[in-house]
Amino acid sequence: MRRLSLALFLAAAPSALAAAQSETLAFVGGRLLPVSGAPLDDGVLVVRDGKILAVGARSDISVPAGARVFDVSGKQLMPGLVDTHSHVGGGWGADSSAPIQPDVRMLDAINCRDSGLQRAQAGGITTLNIMSGSGHLMSGQTLYVKNRDANTVEALCYRFADGEPMGGMKMANGTNSQRPPPFPETRGKSAALVREAFVAALEYRRKVQAAGDDATKLPPRDLGHEALLELVDGKRIVHHHTHRHDDIATVLRLSKEFGFRVVLHHVSEAYKVADLIVAANAPCSLIVIDTPGGKLEASEFDARSAAELERLGAPQLVGFHTDDWITDSRVFLRSAALAVRAGVSRETALAGLTLNAARMLDLGERVGSLEVGKDADFIVLSGDPLSVYTRVEQTWVDGAKVFDLSDPKDRRWADGGWGAGMPRMLATCCLGDEEDPK
């Protein structure tokens, strides 16, 4: 659903939206894939105030009186997809001045009107971890985004318990972050620079603690050190680009030394060191690409990493991501399906798109499965989520429909076409204009 209609009545919009969400909605007759439990044929999903009110078999759930009922027989419903690694939003974090820039925030860089967010809705993605690229050892703070129709980045982002915008920290090792000075040109130097940064942050903390209540003794405030300490304290999770088996081992070594929580990202060679990964209990946000290579560290990529983690008894460590623009948000389901082709179970594949992924962002209590009390983020599919022939027909976020394939304007985000690559127009540009902009 476009935001145009929403902005049409600027003053009235918030109350109209609230009204829509306080309505009780019941989706009846479809096959439910809750992820947290077994699939249910002929299920009922009841939604109110943006949350899941009830979910279960039709025989067990009574549709509340006055509820708006949607017949979804023949369809399959599953939790909105969680993309643990995306570059939509057109934002860049760190610049080329230094290899470690923990102070830089994706919050300050995202264009909330970027068409990539719409394409993600069309692909069924309701939660994203949006981050900067991998050309730095540390390229800044990522942003966890709820993919609702919003006009500011503040309205898009998840928040920590303290109210601050929620996100992790993007790090990288391997070849992408090796560049001419001041960047490292070797793997040894890369690790040394990261260790120095953490040591400096810990020294900063020691000085702050030593100053106690005496403000005159405080060191100058350092945003970078503050962000690094959030890693040490476990508030922020490190999202670490890493491909080669030895680079993966290096990440786990540094994580252990400084106590930061880490999700391994891409992990092209996870299948080679799956035992190490399982022993460290390190979640893997896996990329699935069509062909190995394209760069040295992806030359040994194999889609069987998910199956290998599962074989070692750690299916909960399996997640997927689009890395959009490396793969396309509109076909995110395909990443999990290709992992099934390479041997992983359907159950693990679907969890890797949803609940496992949500947990990689500390959002597992809120999204990622169809459970009572969780956010009403779900998608309506024309069939089996792991079939190429299945289309995402609707995407719902917080109980509001944000994408509908049957709406020609939305369909353009799904299929492309004239103007589909342009950022979403200013809401006031096309009042009442039902035609596609040309």
Binding site: T291, G293, G294, I326, D328, R341, V388, Y389, W418, G421
Partner: protein
């Protein structure tokens, strides 16, 4: 599913079977030229298809190796790629698809730049691709020649079936030079191409005028020789043009010089259906999974259906990728189109028979008909389903892959 090799014959008869003889039994045989056959068999003798029919009335000659699959299709034909010139490592030493020293270099032959042992070729073969139209890449006004290979052999000589298939040209932003170099604009691109073709026409005229008199012949010019092949319509110009105005420029150029062209990429072809149809040129469409950005920002997954409905001959390609993935796979690309309205039959045709037609090889490739090359792809289910596998590939009766992909 494993590729099962059944030794039907007793040893005494085995000697009668040739190296390029085999049979494939499948629950579903997609002939492409006709309706799919249930419980069918394909028999290949001396590298050519000798029989296609129902298992019940198509006896398998004694001594033949018999392969089993759920589904068999013609070997897939990738209508445009750069594999073999471009390698999977993506390092300077394995990237020979684009020489940046000049904007127009039609004398660059694909056969001089092809690494038959490149891993990307193995990868395509393991996904059922048995024929690839490959060569110099999009990205220069005329980047060089293309060729057609089978995905076999350790040398280009063993692989190649058409050494000079097309000349590769690119219009639009992707072949514009930076700084003060030419071509810097669309107008300059057209002017440079016209000048080059006029120069080649003059060369052609002088050659004709000289006849058998060697003394009167102009100095041999490899660049103009290649362009003369274009003017004589011996090869088409493969014009990569994504934007509608660049497609229009390609059609204008073709008309002026009476060229055969093949439109490539053609992201905005859906805006140009009538003129493309009127000109009668085929389209090798961008991969449906290509990034819809830059020159492809207006690309649409509805384009294959639009081309089909307009009656325009089209095929899919793995295309040219600068980064990850280093090549796409036409099996995957056709699958996306199949799911966006084209349907499995239409999608299969666009990576077999229609691709062969665009390459001028439809007498030899692209369908399971008696007399055509024994090129087959074997699958353990619907070839386009995500969770299916390609379980084998056969080129001219020789099993070239038994990998499960």
């Amino acid at each position: 599913m494993k590729l099962i090799s059944t030794c039907v014959a007793v040893l005494a008869f085995a000697a009668q079977a040739l190296a390029q003889d085999l049979a494939v039994r499948a629950e579903l045989v997609h002939t492409v030229s006709g309706e799919p056959l249930r419980n069918g068999v394909v028999i290949v003798r001396a590298g050519k298809i000798a029989a296609v029919g129902a298992q019940s009335n198509t006896p398998i000659p004694a001594g033949l190796r018999v392969l089993e699959a759920k589904v068999v299709t013609p070997g897939l034909v990738d209508a445009h790629s750069v594999v073999g010139l471009a390698g999977y490592l993506n390092q300077a030493q394995d990237q020979d698809q684009l020489d940046p020293s000049a904007p127009i270099q039609p004398e660059l032959r694909a056969i001089d730049a092809y690494n038959a042992r490149e891993r990307l070729i193995v990868w395509l073969r393991e996904h059922g691709v048995t024929t690839v139209h490959t060569g110099h890449a999009p990205g220069a006004l005329i980047s060089g020649q293309t060729m057609v290979v089978k995905t076999r052999g350790e040398t280009v000589e063993e692989a190649v079936i058409v050494p000079f298939a097309m000349l590769a040209a690119t219009l639009g932003a992707d072949s514009r030079a930076s700084g003060d170099k030419s071509p810097g604009t669309a107008g300059k691109q057209a002017a440079m191409l016209r000048e080059a073709l006029i120069g080649a026409r003059e060369y052609q005229r002088k050659l004709a005028a000289a006849g058998d008199d060697a003394a009167k012949r102009p100095e041999r010019d490899l660049r103009k020789e290649a362009l003369v092949a274009l003017l004589e319509r011996r090869v088409p110009l493969l014009v990569t043009a994504q934007r509608h105005q660049d497609i229009a420029s390609a059609l204008r150029l073709a008309k002026e010089f009476e060229l055969r062209i093949v439109l490539d990429g053609a992201a905005e072809a859906y805006e140009m259906l009538e003129p493309i149809k009127a000109a009668g040129f085929p389209v090798i469409l961008h991969p449906p999974l290509a990034r819809f950005a830059g020159e492809l920002e207006n690309a649409s997954r509805a384009t294959p259906v639009a081309l089909r409905d307009a009656g325009i001959l089209f095929a899919f390609q793995s295309g040219y990728e600068e980064y990850v993935p280093k090549t796409r796979v036409v099996l995957f690309e056709a699958a996306i189109a199949a799911a966006h309205g084209l349907g499995p039959q239409g999608a299969l045709k666009a990576v077999t028979l229609d691709a062969a037609r665009i390459l001028g090889l439809e007498q030899r490739l692209g369908s399971l008909d008696v007399g055509k090359d024994g090129d087959l792809a074997l699958f353990d289910g619907d070839p386009f389903e995500y969770a299916s596998h390609c379980i084998g590939a056969v080129i001219e009766g020789v099993v070239v892959s038994e990998a499960v992909r």
